[in-house]
């Protein structure tokens, strides 16, 4: 018994140590810097002025609140749409048919693709000087590539949302496929024999069965898209600007005092994600229990 316990402790210690030093060490250091503690430039005072500056100062408040709005919009929209697309794709493909393997492969193909590559691909295809714009103008749909609708580097974040859908739908898809495969078709056949139509089978049989997995995947995707930097950095505009990009610009500021603002903003992002995830988690748990 004692040996068993020791074994558990021994096998858990290395990963826990890494998590604690890297995660909490990093957070703690970030927190200290956000409170103005920067020994490298001789600042030892602890205060909240960096938080105040980011949230309320005339200089940054407008950037911050519009950025927060954009962040929420992009994360919610891309998570929801990616989940919906993946759900329909998985439902369509799960039944055995001649091209199943190929479809499966194509859908999962962009999973190992780095976000950076997807973002650059977006620029190549959808920007005003991209492939689509050139084709459209060659074919005479529009007079010049410049008339192509602004889909990349647009102020509503469409380009960013599109990139996330493109990327995360594959993630949802893989998860849904594995759930659907393991379920088999027994439940549906049973429901069908009891007289449930197609919609009823989807709403009352499939959806409740895949929901727990779909929700936990949504949390991952939401938290990721809320805090990720590279896609909005490449596909976003300079105003409104998503919060991670804004935080990184603070960090790059040659004035070392601005690092406090950058860290404050990063801590704010982390807090928002944590609170949203907790709320989301709580809601979905309640919903799943009810169903």
């Amino acid at each position: 018994m004692g040996g068993e316990r020791l074994k558990i402790i021994l096998s858990l210690t290395p990963p826990l140590l890494i998590i604690i030093t890297l995660f909490f060490g990093g957070i703690l250091y970030g927190l200290l810097q956000s409170l103005g503690y920067q020994p490298a430039i001789g600042k030892y005072d602890i205060n909240f002025s960096a938080y105040y500056n980011v949230l309320f100062s005339e200089r940054y408040a407008r950037m911050f609140w519009t950025g927060l709005g954009l962040n929420l919009w992009v994360s919610f929209a891309s998570t929801f749409l990616a989940a919906v697309f993946a759900l329909f794709a998985a439902l369509a493909i799960r039944k055995t048919f001649f091209a199943k393997t190929i479809c499966n492969f194509i859908y999962s193909l962009n999973l190992p693709m780095p976000h950076l590559v997807v973002a650059v691909g977006m620029i190549f295809v959808f920007s005003q000087s991209g492939l689509l714009a050139r084709f459209a103008s060659q074919l005479g749909f529009i007079n010049s590539p410049g008339e192509f609708p602004v889909l990349v580097r647009d102020k509503y974040g469409f380009g960013i949302i599109l990139a996330y859908i493109w990327k995360e739908a594959a993630f949802f898809f893989i998860i849904l496929m594995s759930v659907l495969q393991s379920l088999g078709e027994n439940f549906e056949e049973l429901a069908q024999s009891l007289g449930a139509n197609k919609w009823q089978r989807f709403r009352y049989v499939i959806l409740p069965l895949v929901m727990p997995n779909l929700f936990s995947a949504s949390i991952i995707v939401f938290a990721f898209s809320f805090g990720a930097y590279e896609v909005p950095a490449l596909l976003g505009v300079i105003y409104p600007q998503m919060l991670p990009v804004m935080a990184f610009e603070f960090f790059l500021n040659p004035d070392l005092n601005a690092r406090s603002e950058g860290m404050a903003l990063s801590i704010i992002i982390a807090l928002i994600v944590m609170v949203l995830v907790i709320i989301y988690f709580w809601l979905t748990q309640a919903k799943i229990r009810k169903d």
Partner: protein, 416 residues
């Protein structure tokens, strides 16, 4: 604080002193011979932006070889994605208490904001620049040299090369003769070519855009001279509204109607190369040459400058406070100022895209002069007439303007 005052006083005194006695040596060394002796047999760790094969090759060939043969120093060039990486490394070393000669970096290719970061945090070795024998070729009395982005260099970095803001156009699309030669003419050009112009957003990573806006202050106020010297809030307040007014009047005719702006050189080049805009910015005395060679601008691209108010600046080598081999770093910083090597870096065939770090007029020996003339005559047809550039050259101004312009541009143009 006390230490800071002492430090500044010391810096000022030593700067004074170095002007009177040019043979003064870098701190920690009795004479230049001491430096050479200490550097003999060592290695110099050079941290520099490594994104250009041409520049990397130039450093290896033109500095690595003589360092080894003449001074028995091994060059270890460490390529960086951005200079800020080296800055952050020094900063981390400081926080980790790495002092003395125990750091990793001997030299950083640096200027502007990154230099200011290190200087502000007192993470630099020096003042050393005046102690280099080849410092006699440097125009230290020129504010473009002794101020870096408007902040005093104080001998904490030594120049390598120079750059000057001007423009590029594509000769396949436009004519040299039709190019605007002032901001007033540019205004007319923008109105006549709606959607074909934009500029880099003034801000972090976009200092070229800040410079573009700064030059408007010079033109509207009737010249750059009055802006030289300490920061002058009154002067700024007098002209800023007129600058924002001008920029806002362009907005409807800018690329994407001024809804957004490119944030750095790379974005600007790609808009230009893709034919979305007709004008681009360059900093090289060879004009469009370097970007044409790199393929980031169309091969038919050429350069042109306004007749006035084109800001020029220098880039430098700095030595961190904890550099492991300060002597070798000094030898390197001195070597790059050799007139023949300076001519080599301007010579287009050698691939390095920057201009003079020294004042060519101060070179008196025949071999140096011949190399300089040869380089001047070889700049290529992608470069603007060097006389036009020289006539338009002005220095950058106090650093306070930089931050102010970036913040106010955001408030008055982007967010208005």
């Amino acid at each position: 604080m006390k230490f800071k005052i002492k430090f500044i006083t010391l810096a000022i005194i030593s700067l004074f002193f170095s002007k009177l006695v040019s043979a003064e040596t870098a701190p920690g060394f009795g004479s230049w011979d001491d430096v050479l002796k200490a550097a003999d047999g060592g290695q110099v760790n050079v941290y520099m932006w490594g994104g250009s094969d041409a520049i990397n090759g130039f450093v290896d060939d033109f500095y690595g070889v003589p360092l080894k043969e003449k001074y028995n120093i091994t060059l270890n060039r460490v390529p960086l994605a951005g200079t800020v990486d080296a800055v952050n490394q020094v900063l981390s070393e400081k926080e980790a208490g790495v002092t003395g000669d125990n750091g990793n970096i001997d030299l950083i290719w640096i200027n502007g904001e990154n230099f200011w970061t290190l200087k502000q945090a007192q993470l630099l070795y020096g003042p050393f620049a005046a102690g280099l024998p080849n410092s006699k070729f440097v125009a230290w009395d020129n504010p473009a040299v002794n101020l870096d982005f408007g902040r005093p260099v104080d001998g904490m970095e030594s120049p390598w090369s120079s750059a000057q803001f001007h423009f590029m156009y594509d000769s396949a699309r436009n004519n040299y003769d039709d190019m605007p030669r002032s901001y007033a003419e540019l205004s007319d050009w923008i109105a006549a070519n709606p959607g074909r112009f934009t500029y880099i957003r003034p801000g972090k990573g976009g200092f070229v855009g800040t410079r573009f806006v700064k030059q408007i202050f010079f033109e509207l106020s009737g010249g750059q001279e009055q802006w030289v010297g300490p920061f002058n809030q009154e002067l700024y307040d007098k002209w800023a509204p007129k600058v924002w007014e001008l920029l806002n009047s362009w907005e409807k005719d800018l690329w994407r109607s001024g809804e957004t702006y490119p944030k750095d050189n790379a974005e600007m080049h790609s808009l230009f190369a893709n034919g979305e805009v007709d004008l681009d910015f360059t900093q090289s005395p060879r004009g469009a040459g370097p970007t044409n060679t790199a393929g980031t601008t169309p091969p038919t691209s050429r350069a042109f400058a306004f007749y006035d108010n084109m800001i020029g600046d220098f880039n430098y080598w700095a030595i961190p406070y904890n550099a492991p081999n300060k002597a070798a770093a000094l030898v390197y910083a001195n070597l790059v100022l050799e007139p023949e090597l300076q001519a080599a870096q301007v010579q287009p065939a050698n691939g390095f895209c920057c201009g003079w770090g020294i004042s060519t007029a101060k070179v008196t020996d025949a071999a140096g002069k011949a190399a300089i003339n040869d380089a001047q005559n070889n700049l290529g047809d992608a470069a603007e007439d060097q006389n036009i550039l020289a006539k338009a050259l002005v220095s950058d101004i106090a650093a306070e303007y930089q931050d102010l312009i970036e913040a106010d541009w955001e408030a008055n143009v982007l967010l208005k």
